[in-house]
């Protein structure tokens, strides 16, 4: 949505234009519900959180200064609420684990996939190179099983990684916008995305066969 469009929507909302509000709802509702469900892990609670988000958005609208885009602002409000709900649902593992995600899963690719350091020219090269997925039938990737596999893999990720991959790869939010919504630095965002994507790839590879 362009900035000009956004300020038109905001003035329409302030003027009491119901259709404008419903258009705004339709633009983001699907995405908001998906993100909330991913973060909280409970579809019903997610719906409540989204409904509360709209109430909060309207309440705070008079103070919206347009420093971020309207979309970023709405998603930031959602994210705060979703995190609180996730904590309530026992989704956050706790602060210690949360801050130390380095220990959560050692390697991007299992280290035994590479020749060890002392093997000369082969050192750090693939023992068994990854297969090509290009020759696999397209339907394999579109199957319900693969969908569920990815879903459960994302579900099992540490909170921050789950947040980043949900915004970036499920919702297709850009890097800069994701950083603004989540309140993380760009480099931190990339590290989290890297870990999350690597784990999803590993899960797919394990499912499809090395």
């Amino acid at each position: 949505m362009v900035r000009e469009e956004e300020s038109q929507i905001i003035s329409a909302l302030r003027a009491g234009d119901e259709a404008a509000f419903m258009r705004l709802v339709e633009s983001y509702q699907g995405s908001l519900v998906r993100v909330a469900a991913m973060i909280i892990g409970d579809a019903e609670v997610a719906q409540e959180v989204v409904q509360e988000t709209w109430i909060a958005v309207l309440k705070a609208l008079p103070t919206f200064e347009g420093r971020s885009s309207l979309k970023t602002w709405i998603f930031t409000i959602l994210m705060n609420r979703a995190r609180t709900a996730a904590r309530r649902e026992g989704r956050y593992v706790g602060l210690v684990l949360e801050t130390d995600e380095s220990g959560d899963d050692q390697h991007t690719v299992a280290s035994d996939r590479f020749h060890p350091a002392h093997t000369g020219v082969e050192a750090h090269g693939w023992v068994t190179p990854p297969r090509s997925w290009e020759e696999m039938p397209e339907q394999v990737f579109l199957s319900g099983e693969v969908r569920r596999l990815i879903h459960s893999t994302i579900d099992a990720l540490p909170q921050q990684q789950r947040e980043v991959i949900t915004l970036r790869d499920v919702e297709g939010v850009g890097a800069e916008e994701a950083c603004n919504i989540l309140g993380v630095s760009e480099s931190n965002q990339r590290v989290l995305l890297h870990r999350a994507r690597s784990k999803v790839r590993r899960a797919l590879e394990a499912y499809l066969g090395e």
Binding site: R34, I150, S198, R201
Partner: protein, 86 residues
């Protein structure tokens, strides 16, 4: 320009996200691409990562949005009413 050093396969998998994000420094990018031309395993790995991103994006096809639009409209009307009465 920095000297281009060819990364190992084990390093390549760590560079992949920065490469796809376009944030790999120039020298590292050239090294990454040079390795890629010579290594089928890493070509497959990069393709797998791209595919992983695409397939993850397919999760956005479904949504369990069951919130009634009527209820949301009520939220908006209530907000207007409260605002105008204060």
């Amino acid at each position: 320009m920095d000297e281009v050093r060819m990364p190992t396969c084990e390093e390549m998998v760590e560079f992949v996200t920065d490469y796809l994000e376009g944030t790999l420094p120039e020298a590292d990018r050239l090294g990454f691409e040079a390795h890629l031309r010579l290594c089928v395993g890493c070509q497959h790995y990069l393709d797998q990562m791209r595919r992983t991103v695409t397939v993850t994006g397919a999760l956005a096809d479904e949504t369990q949005d069951a919130i009634s639009r009527e209820a949301l409209l009520m939220v908006y009307r209530a907000w207007l009413k409260e605002r105008d009465s204060s």
